[in-house]
Symmetry: none
Subunit: 216 residues, 4 copies
DNA sequence: TATGAATGAGTTTTCATTCAT
DNA sequence: CATGAATGAAAACTCATTCAT
């Protein structure tokens, strides 16, 4: 959980549970309605809270979007240790595994992500949200940076500006995920396999890990 | 202009002009704000109309989205005669040219299209809008069907279900356009060239018109 | 037609026809909707006029109610010569015949009268309308006054304050008409017959009854 | 309080109090203005609520009319136990006493009733309101049915179709009340005495309870 | 912390009225 | 006089947010 969303909490673990509750509830609501059609009350009730109680975890309706982003990044970050253990410090494997994990999260919370992806445009126009979002995405971007940096150190990949490469990888993930969500299940698998190959080719000048990725 | 949006006006040419005014105004507003942040009043004023006057051309705020779709399809349809003249009944050329024109329209009204693309999900949940949208998109889909049908007649392309191929082509266009809008100008050109090749390969099993398309 | 509703008119007979048109149209509309649910446009169109044209005959929506009253009184007044000829200056006959004619008019334009009867409360709270209404009803009340006065001159009826007796007779008519409109056709005939007897008894034979009436 | 008007409140006793507040406030407002001239805000403020708060107790402005009906019927129903105790199961006494109580309620909330009586026409054209109104009036009509049924069982009164007799009695009450509201206090007493006699004569073929009724 | 009634600013929408043609 | 597009004031209604309990 990111600092941005920490509000005075006596019992941090309870708060964590509540935020998860809210996140899942909002996800469910967004499968039925747009963010603007959905009311705060509706989301609170779906989360098992009273109308006003959600404001103990979020300062405004718009901040619910930040909570969404934070929760998704949280799920991804939780998966990192296992990924790192599994990929044995191989930067190529690690990058692809992280991307795959990201795609999984996005696909799992498809509607919420779609909404988030759309609303982010307008959120970013307000400095406060721009900053908050940046902070929330930080751990995710750092996770992507690790294998990229190591790959550069090992001479497997060449680039000057780390942030922009990270950004490119991220956009690739979200773009793909959104595109993929329009396709049928089988196509999706094929699609991702191609993507893996493409990423590998684009960023690492060939290699052969893509075949393994799909199994994960 | 589609029947769906005809309201009460007798002087159709005035109404046509007003709708265009509104369309352009809304496009401008959506470059600044989300559809839900923007008020009807704001859009009306931007169009040079008084707050309530927009309701002579649209029955509700949501119907403004239909007007957007209708106007975009209108621009595309207006370009068809020239395309048909230029492509001399060559189905491959014609299909690609229409797709290119569609991408142009989408790119020209980028923000409006992004909004439309997002809101359509919710619009389609309401039967009245679902029907209206279908009617509005009809001419565009028919335009795509023409070269596909002719291609099939000439044995250049093989498929059973026309509507689903049309749908696939359409999704390709809108998906690409949305993806492309995230990229820089130069990348976009490359992107489209690849697309053209891909479409050609996918739908016509090889050929060589993609190079010409990009010049258009 | 009463002065109150005369607006600058080049051709008075055309204007008269238009007012009748409007009156009948409004009557038809009020059979379907309440005065407040009905729009000025709707009433104008029903009368075969364009939305704004009705304002050449009426200064505001509320004034349409005056037009209604004026038209009804007009129909009654038009019937007077025939009534007078028929009743040969017999005050009892004449009074009853006028009341009957009034009931006919009210019954013919039932819905319009019901609306008028309801709205009059609020109309009368505004001095301008109070005055206008008074003027409009003037000819009708004068018509009632004639047989009453003659009856008094002939010693058939005794009262001091003419206006309050007229008012009482008028309230009897409108009250009866409204009550009668709830009853079935046959009952109505019986009802009116009883009324006629009652009026005659009350005003012309009863002696002391008239004294009570004027106090009300 | 009828189910039709139950909205979202758990604390029913608070809601009950609020509805009474609103009822009385609206009654006061309708003494000054027509239902259509009065704004929802005005009625809410008169009830000591903020502009939007009234919508926690009523779903639309029109539903305020249902609340009026419901409150009036409520007052009548509250009076029933006492009436039944007082009339010792004498159907004639009981029917007249209920009618008298109904007339009292109508007279107490004269303006509100007049408005209701007028608007009901239009309300009943919409099925939802028609049903709701029926439900609201149910207890009142049942109350009238009791003595009528018992009277029939005792052979004091003869009829085939209970509902239409109930309807007739109800129309008598409301018609009378509306007519009576035009008259001065003293006349009213006389009027009611006559009514009682009439009802008794009409429904019970003679008897002598009318004299007692007026004292109540 | 949790609740949910109350708030009132903000939006959509309607429509009586005006006025240039 | 007639028209009907345009106006904009006014109203109903919604709902994010607050706060006393």
């Amino acid at each position: 959980m990111n600092d941005v969303l920490k509000i005075q909490t006596v019992d941090e673990s309870l708060a964590r549970a509540r935020r998860k509750q809210i996140f899942l509830a909002v996800t469910r609501v967004l499968a039925r309605k747009s963010f603007h059609q959905a009311t705060v009350k509706e989301m609170a009730l779906e989360a098992g809270l009273a109308a006003g109680s959600i404001y103990a975890y979020v300062q405004s309706k718009d901040e619910i979007l930040l909570l969404l982003a934070d929760s998704m990044v949280g799920e991804l970050v939780d998966a990192l240790p296992e990924i790192r253990a599994r990929t044995h410090d191989d930067p190529r494997h690690e990058l692809l595994a992280i991307m795959h994990a990201a795609l999984d999260v996005i696909d799992r919370y498809r509607e919420a992500f779609a909404v988030l992806n759309h609303e982010v445009r307008y959120l970013e126009q307000r400095p406060q949200y721009r900053t908050a979002l940046k902070e929330i995405l930080q751990p995710y971007k750092e996770a992507l940076a690790v294998p990229l940096e190591r790959g550069r150190a090992l001479g497997l990949i060449r680039f000057d500006d780390l942030p922009s490469v990270v950004e490119a990888v991220h956009m690739l993930c979200s773009g793909l995920a959104m595109g993929a969500s329009m396709l049928a299940k089988t196509d999706k698998e094929v699609y991702w396999r191609e993507i893996a190959a493409m990423v590998e080719g684009r960023f690492f000048d060939g290699g052969g890990v893509s075949a393994e990725v799909e199994e994960t």
